[in-house]
Symmetry: C2
Subunit: 327 residues, 2 copies
């Protein structure tokens, strides 16, 4: 089974657990708003990773299912708040919560999902000392997520260094992947060294995943990604490709041209095409893809500590899928 | 020492611990925003209650200090989000975060304080099984807080029943008081029955405190409370006094007059005075004060399980202070 099929299967298996923890309570509008994003599906990569990690370390995968749900709620809590902050109107084919309901309900629904995740962690059916470890990883991840999102806000419209950009996506994307993998391994009974290896795997995978996402944003097929190639360019998103170009282009005229188009919300299709060509000529698009590949290779190497298993195969396949997809 | 002096002393003692957990990290604007409210002081009733509870059950108060900070961060996280949702511009004499910085920073600073609270709980220096209990109380409280705030949003401009109002303030105010007291008792090594008694004490005290706050809002001296008597009336806040009046006024003309002025943001000083007179005539103001007194008496009775101690005295005094203050 390839990673996509395995993900589809685990996402389906999580349908019931994801619906288990938010009971019918008052006020019903808050409950409905809190349920909307997690119930609507999505790739559910983070929870799949938590469950696979528990199995890959030889543990009982069912012990990691509630944790998987908690991690998915946390991911969705950030989406609810993000959609409001970014002014995004759609999510998973539905109207975003701050529009379908109102702004206070979106903020409170996010807060509620966040709280529910920690209620679930408190009740994990594992020894309290292990639960404490899970809590340390997950609460650290949520703290880091807020930092990453603030960096993202602050980076807007600026040319940042590659280190700054990598640190932002590490905090915004990788830490929750990593907490999911580490938490699943802890729930599965792994020793410290194995937990750390799975944490490192997911951290590197998160970076590779995000860098490849940025690559697709510029070099991908818009008819498949559903995102116009101009999106990131018009927003002036400072990806590793942009930082590479800025640092390697010697011709001041070309550099000035690149900088003048980046972040111009009204840039024409022609100008967007020109930026793509400039990035290509500077070797920056290839650089981005290769960096994603490097991170994924690094990620896979961390899995060497694991004995063979279906779950290990999935974790390797998931890493390869991260840099071998069109969507 | 009376409750006010004791509170002032414990609030001061918490100055250093409150500054201990949010380290200098990037991005510095998020860190500064997250620090603003908790560093600015305030009554710090919730953390004082956590520390007192640990001492009152014969435990080591220092074990409850990090928990006290966590509870204060949670309280402040809700203030940061609330101030934005309510459009409030000032807090503790400073410009609210959503104005001093911007809306995304306020949302993320709230989220960050929330996350930090759970990091602190994970690291509590108590046995993991006890930490699990604390986590259960606190995470349940935060879930309930979101429900209470949503109810508050939904209640705006409506006449709700006394039960609905009590449920709203139970969730909005009491649950975090109760989690602080229960958590402090758990950190102090109390048995289940004592933990539950302290939880019930703080729950009833929270209700008494809020009902008396509403009483002060109508019957208090504006030169002392700093709140115009018209505030709650013009907002149409449906306190227990209002529900009492609506249910006991027999004259349809008087009832219609009351309803027409309540929630009228442009109500004149004369109209506000008229509402106060109507509430007084219906016995509703006295009803509100007596209900607050009843809740506080109930709260104090839960402390019977405790042996004499300075901390028990404070907890009794705090309850009495809740209904014997002008501010």
């Amino acid at each position: 089974m390839d990673a996509k099929e395995y993900l589809a299967k685990t996402s389906k298996e999580l349908d019931a657990p994801v619906r288990r923890y938010i009971k019918d309570e008052l006020p019903s509008d808050l409950i409905a708003a809190a349920r909307q994003y997690p119930y609507a599906g999505g790739k559910r990569m983070r929870p799949a990773m938590a469950v696979a990690a528990a199995g890959a370390v030889g543990g009982d995968k069912s012990k990691a299912v509630p944790l998987a749900v908690a991690v998915e709620y946390i991911h969705n809590f950030t989406l609810v708040h993000d959609d409001f902050m970014d002014g995004d109107e759609k999510r998973r084919g539905m109207t975003a919560i701050h529009i379908a309901y109102n702004v206070p309900t979106a903020i409170l629904a996010g807060d509620a999902l966040f709280a529910k995740a920690f209620q679930i962690i408190a009740d994990l059916d594992i020894p309290a000392e292990r639960m404490r470890l899970v809590l340390q990883y997950v609460s650290q991840a949520v703290w880091d997520l807020a930092r990453g999102q603030q960096m993202d806000v602050n980076n807007e419209g600026r040319i940042v260094t590659e280190e700054e950009y990598i640190e932002t996506i590490r905090l915004k994307t990788s830490v929750l992947f990593a907490a999911a993998a580490a938490g699943g391994a802890i729930a599965g009974g792994a020793d410290d060294a194995t937990v750390k290896a799975l944490h490192s795997y997911a951290m590197a995978l998160g970076l590779g995943f995000q860098i490849y996402d940025d690559y697709l944003g510029v070099a991908g097929d818009p008819s498949k990604t559903g995102k116009s190639v101009g999106n990131d360019i018009r927003k002036g998103k400072c990806t590793v490709m942009v930082t590479h170009a800025v640092n390697s282009i010697k011709d001041p005229k070309v550099l000035a041209e690149l900088k003048s188009i980046l972040g111009d919300q009204k840039a024409s299709e022609e100008q967007v095409f020109r930026v793509r060509r400039i990035l290509e000529d500077a070797g920056s698009i290839a650089y981005g893809r290769k960096l994603a590949e490097k991170k994924v290779k690094e990620a896979i190497s961390f899995l060497d500590v694991l004995p063979p298993s279906e779950e290990k195969d999935f974790m390797v396949a998931l890493a390869r899928y991260a840099i071998d997809r069109e969507v």
